[in-house]
Amino acid sequence: MAENEAGLVEMCGIVGLFLKNRALEPKLGSLLAGMLGTMCDRGPDSAGFAIYGAGDREHVKLTLRAASADTDFAALAKKVEAAIGASVTVETHATHAVFTLPAESEPAAREAIAGLSKVKVVGSGTRMEIYKEVGRPDVVAKRFDLAHMAGSHAIAHTRMATESAVSTDGAHPFSTGRDQCLVHNGSLSNHNGLRRQLERKGLHFETENDTEVAAGYLTWRMREGDSLGDALKHSLDDLDGFYTFVVGTEDGFGVLRDPIACKPAVMAETDDYVAFGSEYRALAGLPGIDKARVWEPEPAKVYFWERH
């Protein structure tokens, strides 16, 4: 990372959008794509986004990521259907596909997918879908056709790699729990020790990445009964390093900066939405931004919004 004496840092970009006005939901993807596009120069290495769209309690959506776009997801879905004895609907977006299946079949489907192919399950949830890829953020957004996705809230990340390799595995968002995801700007210094502690508590990590540890930490806290807000509060004691986190849950959207607010963050709120950007540039294209309340989140203060 590059930081000068005045604490001015340029690396990684985060954007997030939480809609309060449901009439805007069909436009969520296009608004987020616009925000993400302005952050290309903060992180040209990889990009990813998590979007909370349609879903129901009886079903789970598994987001699958393959190494190439040639993967025959439809054929894989047929085999999974046979293995779990239930129907699977498939929606393919380039290298990713979303399999929707009965919620109770998730463990069997995961086992079948692992046995049948090298495709990875990168996220699961009632409403959450996750897409991430190496490359310029605007190109990544176009590849997945983000502009035509709908939903209630979404978070996205552009990465300038510092703590682990430039790879799709290292791209954000990270999810370690159902409908839970996290993006991060910064670098954690105690992630190796914390990863070992969390592994002893039964969590499984796919990468050497520091952000995955933070996501796992929050998942663990919430498993222990914390609300997302409380989990974020606890993270102030247990995580060491520079960070701005933006997290998503099935119904919520939260923001936390480290106690010295090393990483930039600016937020905007109107009657229609709450928006987060690493810089104001990311927010400048949002509707009604000229009348929005624009502020910088305070250090070590948990911000959280929930859908009602």
């Binding site: 004496e5 001015l8 607010a261 930039p264 600016v266 810089e279 540039r281 400048a284």
Partner: protein, 229 residues
């Protein structure tokens, strides 16, 4: 009166035009519209002209300013007026982190609040913030003045050298080696003059401020601190 629309003219072209202005230029007033958070708007000015920016500016706006008057009718991103040498910068909204960082001279006035590290490493700049400032403001500030009409966040003036700090509201905490100092008539007079320069002649009573500065225990070599160097 040239009006430059940054949705039409590139930022590079704007700054190039401003940099080419000579001392005796007849064009003395520029209006910039649609900044939309772009970085380095009107950075590196060196002519006695006024640039008025309508909207929110991004990082390093009016950085390294010499002579010019830059007015931002909106908020400013990280490092507004950083390394300013002379002239003045006025932010009508809020300023992000590191406002006036490392400034050597000139006057920075922020009508709203400033985030953390306001006036960090100041070297002679005078900063007046009508709202509050965030954590670690005036960190390692060497010379100049920071005036805060509102409150100051954690660790004000940490490791400060000889900059002068005046705060009217509450200070959440003082940083290492920053102490409260008595407010003499001389200081009140000096503060009153600065407030007048910032456009608040007689509006604010300098007697309501507390003065802070260096305890001078940290920045001289001391044998007992050897382990900490």
């Amino acid at each position: 009166m040239p009006v430059v629309d940054l949705e039409v003219t590139s930022l590079r072209d704007l700054n190039q035009m401003l940099h080419e202005l000579g001392q005796g230029t007849n064009e003395t007033y520029f209006r910039v519209i649609n900044p939309r958070g772009r970085h380095a708007v009107a950075a590196g000015m060196n002519a006695p002209v006024t640039v008025e920016i309508d909207g929110n500016a991004g990082y390093y706006c009016a950085g390294m300013n010499e002579q010019a008057t830059v007015i931002i009718n909106g908020s400013a991103g990280v490092g507004v007026a950083e390394n300013m040498m002379s002239g003045s910068v006025r932010v009508k909204g809020d300023a992000s982190a590191s406002a006036g960082a490392s400034g050597c001279g000139g006057l920075l006035v922020i009508d709203g609040n400033a985030s953390g590290r306001c006036g960090i490493s100041a070297r002679g700049i005078e900063i007046v913030v009508k709202g509050s400032v965030g954590h670690m403001s005036a960190f390692m500030a060497q010379a100049g003045t920071l005036v805060v009409l509102g409150d100051a966040g954690d660790a004000l003036g940490d490791s400060i050298y000889e900059a002068r700090l005046f705060v009217r509201g509450k200070v959440k905490s003082l940083g290492s080696d920053c102490i409260e100092k008595p407010m003499s008539d001389k200081h009140k007079g000096r503060l009153g003059k600065l407030l007048a320069e910032a456009g608040m002649n007689g509006e604010v009573d300098p007697g309501e401020f507390k003065r802070y500065g260096s305890g001078r225990t940290l920045y001289h070599f001391h044998m007992d601190n050897l382990g900490a160097y």
